[in-house]
Symmetry: C2
Subunit: 209 residues, 2 copies
């Protein structure tokens, strides 16, 4: 038990150190040797406590996803909470604000790629799923007619579109915008998607002939 | 004149070689030494004919932008050419198809970053502008009421949102979709943005009170 306890402590300390490194210097600033040194363990210890460096990075990314989840909860709800268009815009703007506030650890979510044949572990996929679920909820109110599978796809697509707006808007010289303009664009485009989806909703009486 | 002519030939040969390298192996596969060897010039020649490797990469990226421009022209127009919603969807699907067909040189457009203080040269910005212009045209028909500056911003945002759909849809394990589903999602989301923008259009009679 003692050994197991100690193991868990070192494991957590390594994740803490990796989290600090990624937050301060980005994914490229994560060096296994430095992390081990900071925690005061041998370099090899990392590879006994984690399958590989990828697993350590995914643990940090999980924390980033949890942080974003908490961030969303802290953003005030729209005046009309029941309005799914306003809620979708709120989520998109929360994403933009989070990316702005946590640029390096946010980027690490996307820069990190597992090798060709590997898929992320179930616990990581589940954590991602919780975020997509935040988008599915207002989508269900917006378009109760959509089958679950279609709504799930659409939630991912809305996320991807928002990610494109945020990612190019913040980072690329291609489309870099001043902060106020970028906020307004996210609101305009995500609001338009939501209203556009509403126009597709079958009207009462549309049913099969 | 003779020397100038030869200079231009070597310069073009270097761009050709860099283009082949990026197309085959991506931006990371571009090695100045190999390019020089292929063309049969000294390594130093690259740096007399181009300000730096960045300029060589931008020349390849310019060709990629021109290739995409030609690609768009080759995609059949929607049945109702005058319908701006269908035209915006056509452009977005053309972008997806182009990214699929040219994955490495397409990625190079976004992977390549100039140093912090540098901005892309005017000729490159102009080439990007021509592409945004393709989006502005149907936007003008969709929303003739929008001021030019707002339409230009919106064209860039539509591009960014589409880029997010394409980029995460093709590449990330996060949201990777089968090709048919991804095509459908691009159509759904971009179509919804366009229809949503229409719902915002001031109606005749709305004018100032």
């Amino acid at each position: 038990m003692q050994a197991g306890h100690r193991r868990e402590e070192v494991r957590a300390a390594l994740i803490d150190a990796a989290e600090r490194a990624i937050t301060a210097r980005g994914l490229g600033g994560l060096k296994a040797r430095e992390i081990a040194q900071e925690v005061g363990c041998a370099l090899g210890t990392i590879y006994t406590l984690f399958a590989d460096l990828d697993e350590l990075i995914l643990e940090v990314n999980r924390r980033t996803l949890i942080l974003f989840d908490a961030w969303i909860a802290g953003v005030p709800a729209p005046p009309d909470e029941a309005d799914p268009v306003a809620e979708l815009v709120r989520l998109a703007r929360a994403y933009l604000a989070f990316a702005r506030a946590n640029p390096l650890r946010w980027r690490a979510l996307f820069q990190h790629r597992l090798g060709e044949e590997r898929t992320p572990p179930d616990w990581y996929v589940a954590e991602q799923g919780r975020l997509f679920h935040q988008i599915e909820r207002p989508l269900r109110r917006l378009r109760p007619d959509l089958p679950d599978a279609e709504r799930q796809l659409l939630a991912r697509s809305l996320f991807s579109a928002t990610h494109g707006l945020v990612s190019l808007g913040l980072d690329e010289k291609l489309t870099a915008l001043d902060p106020v303009a970028l906020d307004a664009q996210v609101e305009t485009v995500v609001g338009a998607v939501a209203r556009g989806l509403l126009t597709e909703q079958p009207q009462p009486g549309d049913g099969p002939a």
